[in-house]
Amino acid sequence: MLARITRPARAFRPHWLAALLLVIVSKNFAQPNSEPQLEAAYLINFMKYVEWPASARNTASICLFGRDTLGPLLSSHEGRMIGGKELRILRVSSPADMASCQLVYIPDVEEARIGAVLRWTQGMPILTASSADGFARAGGGIEFVRHGGRMQFIVNASSLLQQGLTASSQMMRLAFRVIGGER
């Protein structure tokens, strides 16, 4: 008799736990804020906070190098105007593609090719950004880092200087770290 009473109670416990977890999870994930979503939002912002040298073109292009990790998140922004230019999202893979880019994003899965991309973009007015470890130290412009549960970015000031780019003082102030120059 006793067994009959206790058995259903025991079986019920996991449901409670599952329900509790579901509440916690759904509560905390109401806002979409995954790492790729944040990176995509950052890239759009960098287009506003960085000054490129004068150019006659009327488009501004964010180029996604190699494996596509942000494309679907950025495609909705395509065609909008940023700083008076029409935003384009391009997928690139070779040195010849670089000339059409203002910003080149290299996903961390393409870590192996960082050196090559930095070489291709050297001296060109192109902002490079990546989530690969050590990207800024390797000469890249902006490196995403995750710190304290938040997505932050490192700016390599000397790299930006060499590319002829100027980051706004506000962006420099918000950077998690600035290397190769004074903040």
Binding site: P32, L38, I44, N45, R67, G84, A116, D133, R137, I179
Partner: protein
Amino acid sequence: MAAIWHNAISAQDDDLNLEDLTKIEVSSVSRRNQSLNNVPAAAFVISADDIRRSGAQTLPDVLRMAPGIQVAQIDSGRYAVTARGFNGRFSNKLQVLVDGRSIYDPFFSGTLWEHDQIPLEDIERIEIIRGVGAAMWGANAVNGVINIISKHSHGEANGMLAASIGTHGQRQLYARAAGNIDADTSWKLSAQGRHAGPAKKSADGSYSADDLTASTVDFRFDRTLTAGSALTVWANVANSTQGDLYPFTINPLDPMVLDPIAVDEKTSTQMLGARYRWLTEQGFESSIQSSLSNAQIGLKNAFEIRYVKFDLDYQGRYTFAEHDLLWGLTHRTMSDEAWSNFAFEMTIPRREFTQRSSGVFLHDNWTLVPDTWQLGVGARWDQSNLGGSFLSPSATLMWTPTRNHTLWAKYARAPRIPSRAESDVSMISGYQGPTTGPFLSMLRSQPGSLPLSRETIEGGELGFRSQLAPHFSIDLSLYRYRYANLVSSTLGTTEVNLSFGPIPVVIQNLDRNNAANGWLTGAELSLDWLLSPTWRLQLSYALTHVDMDASSNPISDAQGKADERGTARHTGSLRSQWNLSENQQLDAWLRGSSGMVRTLSPYTTEIRIPGYVTLDLRYAFKLTRDLEIALSGRNLIGPRRVEYVSDYVPATPVVIEPSLQLTTRWKF
């Protein structure tokens, strides 16, 4: 002049601005912990944050979180660490690298974990690749490779002090100074001292003599030259002293028992190394690295090895069209001098020896279908004056049907070169009291009539990795490998020695050969779940099954059975990292292993080591941005236990007990 782009954010803009973005809490599993996501191999990454939050004070304790890595604490400083079975005080099938430099000891073929080669605070991340990695990392990368990557000095432009004090005589002090000479040049100097008190003997609860003192001084200099080229210089000096009790002399009243003698094991290493990386106009990436190290390992007045090791490594990389090509050349020379004063117990006929090995490898990652199919083909050829020349091929196929799912398959073959100790040294490896008659018997392990040749491992793996939801990822791997020509023994001659007093000693020689063969099968699972932006759970589990072939040779057969039963079949860990608030962390780590049966060296009796489940807890409080205090407890639940008994080197088993530790970290 001209229209520069306007910074102002247009009015209709409903984007989050930069400042908002820096404040959003990320709700997905960090990819940084999966930076090997795109690798067709069973890989796991331990970040600096994971190390700190583990509450562990030693590298082997940190490695327990990786699936498939089996860690067993022998005493207060020594550990047996392996990947996928065949564990031992000297696990000879696991390669360990610090910044690309091997710390695997080629004399014993294994890693001496009681000797701190690098302070935990100086580690940026640890990449662990289980399975055969010989096509890239060369011989001995048989069951896995552990790549320890130290922090770049540029990111450390400040000072730091970390001090720990704990139960069981645990004390640790770490200090670091660092600076930037100019925008491209930086340096770091760190020092660490560590002490652990003796553990209690499992036999009678009295203290053993295994107290440990270890110190390390590490220097790193980095200079970024033109874009893409950089110079790094490392210098490292480390010393360690640890006692032990060797059951050694026959008790005159009870010849079944060996009385212990106290020994002092001293290890010291000095290393100087440099690496230069550069990039050519055509996009060829190259790196040349060289190091010179000097080491001394000894038991006072009894046994000593000194060696000088020179390593030279070149690696190149070129990506073009659908190919990502990697190639390299390596050379190593190790000159050693070894002697033993135990003329009967341990003899080393060749006092001096120089081991030379050279290798060349080529690997191509070929993208068959962009974003979907990738084929990897590689081979390495090595030549060594211990073990001859051999080819290690590997092939991988990786399928990424969607961005979030990866399936991979791998084939690989690898050799393990016999160590100098296996090739040359004769030692008493077993003792039996007068059970079968009025005499004692001893087993002596010695080189056979034929020189040992290499062991060969060949097999395949399958893996699946998936980001099932933004906050949940899974990584699964399955493997099966064939081990052939493993070092084993056969019955040799019998001698009678009368120099032990009234009782004659029968010595049974065991001649080493390459006669053992077997299968290794297993599965590993790791899950990473971010329950909320402030709470992360990580689960890892490994199943390891060693199945050695039966042999008509009774010694090989018994050794095979010992290998099977000496491997823990199930190991698992569940870690919880919870940020209670901006400045408080509460971490819990539940971990366990199933039991195993091991031979208690130097006796021939088998001991069953029971399985265990235990818990570590850590609470950390950040007083200011730069000052943190943490209280951690290790091995908090479950009975006091023996985790391991030494198999080859005689030792006194000790118990692992609950311990507490208070740590302060101050950056300035």
